[in-house]
Symmetry: C2
Subunit: 317 residues, 2 copies
């Protein structure tokens, strides 16, 4: 019966947990968000945390659950060993690992490993967003997922060819909190708007220099001393510099020409990256990050035969 929960899905990261109940067509029927990330769950027990949320949502005790994120890391619930790239996206989803010792059918999507000696890299969680981004099954597609550790993924004919990590969000935090720039940005740096002219100017300067950011960081401090740059604009400068640097660096590595980019993001970060990619001359298709992870987890459940096929609903691609 459409409308009844067919599967539960969970995005389980280091600091937070999100759980949804989906019907057989992938429609969200209920959602819970909590700060039950890895660290807390290791103390309370992963099964206990998950079952408490499912019970609170009224989920049946035999409803299957598909999980992605750091819960599948070595420090998580059950290690879902990395799938090596290149790998078809479908094969990643089908590699979901069954949590042993639970009556309920619970599986975790594996992360990805890029083992090349010159660019070792790992992903855990973003592979599922990628699977939910609605990429065409053929052609080359470049996907940008901004965040604490921004990921760029190169997809060719439905397979992950390679990827890279730019820790842009983390650089922003550690520089704003712990470097000399904390004097420039102030105690609680203002949220940066994509329309801020300082954001644009510093983003464009970084774009023009191929990802070289270190030689400009101190200029934010100096602009305060010499030109009276204020705290809100200093935050915009730093944000523009780091995001512009990331885009320049990734554009160079992946030789982006005029093909459209897929940007998987939400809210303010989506607006900043959308603007910055525009400054760089890229055409962007924006996919909501929350929607992408839900669709990806649903696809993973389908690929693993966890959802009864209902002829009246048709397949969701």
């Amino acid at each position: 019966m459409s409308g009844a929960p067919a599967v539960a899905i969970a995005d389980w990261g280091t600091t937070r947990l999100r759980v949804w109940l989906l019907d057989a067509a992938g429609k969200a029927l209920a959602e819970r968000r909590a700060d039950d990330g890895l660290i807390g769950a290791r103390v309370k027990g992963f099964a206990a945390v998950l079952e408490a949320h499912l019970a609170a949502m009224g989920a049946a005790t035999d409803l299957p659950v598909m999980i992605c994120g750091m819960a599948g890391s070595r420090q998580g619930w059950v290690e879902a060993a990395y799938v090596d790239v290149p790998s078809p996206i479908a094969a990643i989803l089908e590699g979901a690992v069954r949590v042993p010792g639970t009556a309920r059918d619970i599986r975790i999507v594996p992360g990805l490993a890029q083992r090349r000696e010159d660019r070792p890299d790992v992903i855990r969680g973003e592979e599922t967003q990628l699977a939910g981004a609605g990429l065409p099954p053929t052609g080359r597609h470049l996907v940008c997922m901004p965040g604490t550790h921004s990921k760029w993924i190169e997809v060719e004919d439905g397979a992950v060819a390679g990827f890279g990590t730019w820790p842009t969000g983390e650089l922003y935090s550690v520089l704003a909190d712990h470097s000399i720039l904390r004097h420039s940005l102030g105690e609680n740096p203002a949220a940066v708007g994509a329309g801020n002219p300082a954001f644009r100017r510093w983003c464009e300067a970084a774009l023009a220099e191929g990802g070289d950011i270190a030689g400009r960081l101190f200029s934010i401090r100096a602009a305060g001393l010499l030109h009276g740059l204020g705290e809100a604009d200093a935050a915009a400068c730093l944000s523009g510099l780091l995001i512009g640097g990331e885009i320049a660096s990734a554009s160079r590595r992946y030789r982006i020409a005029q093909e459209p980019l897929v940007l998987i993001a939400s809210g303010a970060l989506g607006a900043l990256y959308g603007a910055a990619l525009g400054f760089a001359g890229h055409t962007v298709r924006l996919v909501d990050a929350d929607e992408a992870v839900r669709v990806g987890l649903f696809e993973a459940a389908r690929h693993n035969g966890m959802i009864a096929v209902e002829p009246t609903d048709g397949d969701r691609q």
Copy 2:
């Protein structure tokens, strides 16, 4: 009489103070190092701190003192306003500012300001090392001063044409202490040796990418997860990446070809930068940083007529 103190000099930074007594030929007769940086001195009083050190060294009450460093900043003792570049090095030294209200003749060398809108930057302290580096009076010379905030200075015919700051040492500290890389480097990162193959490999990788460092940072973490990279080698990777990135970026900005570089540094940092500049194909003349600041302060005292000329000693260039 040669051998008697002719002047006292002090390098007074944010966290430490170094004082020397020099004879009329610039030879060091006595030295004291203390943690009496700006913060402590603002509490105790700059004059009291300086006089206590001079008294402990047996300096006469009328011995003149030349100072450089953050003591001349707005948060310091007396502000020695920035000299704008371009500026002849001699003019910087001659711009030393007299500390008012002291019986003793005490002066502070000004810092430098680069006011260009696209590259605002400031220096305070390094201008004095530059003056003591023994640069030829003509020609173009590029000077690298590694540190918490590395400075690169472009000198043309005895004048500072421009400069830039790369906060390489600070980036290393904040990333090692506060980013995800702290898990890779461990609690007390090992000192990095210039002969470490990981230092060389990551330095050369950074040199090949024009200063683009952000796209490789996370690979240090991933190399630990995928290839078993240990803590000491992770520290070497980060150091090589950041130093290589700085050199690549500065080489590009200042269009360094085959002219020799002047490296003003001491100890382990001098060895790391010497090696890294070698990987980049640069020929280097190494000047000891401690020696350079002493010579520069002595030159500043001479330029300001604070040292009685003694015909038997001859001039020191």
